[in-house]
């Protein structure tokens, strides 16, 4: 059974701090790892990583994948109160055109205090 484990499950930091969120996985036929941000509504897409060692960056957010050690990290620098959300990590299988539903972790609940 595919498994995704995120840590920590919750994190409280002050505005301006840098945070690192962790995601480890066990999945057969790995294809990609995705990060989503969820703020009391639909998960919104952040990154998709398919290749090991290549960093994806968007503003203050960045993520990297290690396919050998089966984990990914999401970094947020200079955090702002608007970064408060649940961050979900998900893995998707290689499907060859078949089933490719995502397996999600429980999420990291990040709270940024002013």
């Amino acid at each position: 059974e595919d498994k995704v484990v995120q840590s920590p499950l919750s994190l409280v930091v002050h505005e301006g701090d840098t945070v690192t969120l962790n995601c480890s996985y066990e999945v057969t036929n790995f294809r990609s790892l995705l990060w989503y941000k969820q703020e009391k509504k639909a998960p919104t897409f952040l990154f998709m990583l398919t290749s090991s060692g290549i960093e994806k960056k968007s503003g203050r957010l960045s993520s990297i994948l290690d396919k050998k050690e089966l984990f990914s990290i999401l970094n947020i620098t200079a955090t702002q109160t608007g970064d408060s959300a649940v961050y979900l990590c998900a893995v998707g299988p290689y499907s060859g055109g078949g089933a490719d539903g995502l397996t999600f972790g429980k999420g990291t609940h990040l709270i940024i205090q002013p």
């Binding site: 995704v4 294809r31 990609s32 995705l34 989503y36 509504k41 639909a42 998960p43 919104t44 897409f45 998709m48 398919t50 979900l88 998900a90 998707g92 290689y94 055109g97 078949g98 089933a99 490719d100 539903g101 995502l102 397996t103 999600f104 972790g105 429980k106 999420g107």
Partner: protein, 116 residues
């Protein structure tokens, strides 16, 4: 580009009643997914459609849940009869599914179901 639409946004029912949710995916997206997200958990896949065919329903509790996508566009998810443990947010997602790459899934706002 319009996003994934879902309705209703909220639903409260008593146990053993029936309920149905509706989803309209992003235009042109061939693949549609239904996920169940229980409070404090990540979304769990219930069923995946490719056009109007079922690709994966291995995690769908088929004794009470059913879903259809008759014309390959809109989809409905039904629960009959509902149980207390069905209280959750039901998320619909869609994906373009180009053959050469894995596409990210775009999620709708979800329907929050409370079973009393």
């Amino acid at each position: 580009e319009a996003g994934v639409a879902q309705s209703p946004r909220y639903k409260i029912i008593e146990k053993r009643q029936s309920v149905a949710f509706w989803c309209n995916p992003i235009s042109g997206h061939a693949t549609l997914y239904w996920y169940q997200q229980i409070l404090g958990q990540g979304p769990k896949l219930l069923i995946q459609f490719q056009n109007n065919g079922v690709v994966d329903d291995s995690q769908l509790p088929k004794d009470r849940f059913s879903a259809e996508r008759l014309k390959g566009v809109d989809s409905t998810l039904k629960i009959q009869p509902a149980k207390l443990e069905d209280s959750a947010v039901y998320l619909c997602a869609s994906s373009l599914r180009r053959v050469s790459s894995y596409n990210e899934q775009f999620f709708g706002p979800g329907t929050r179901l409370t079973v009393l």
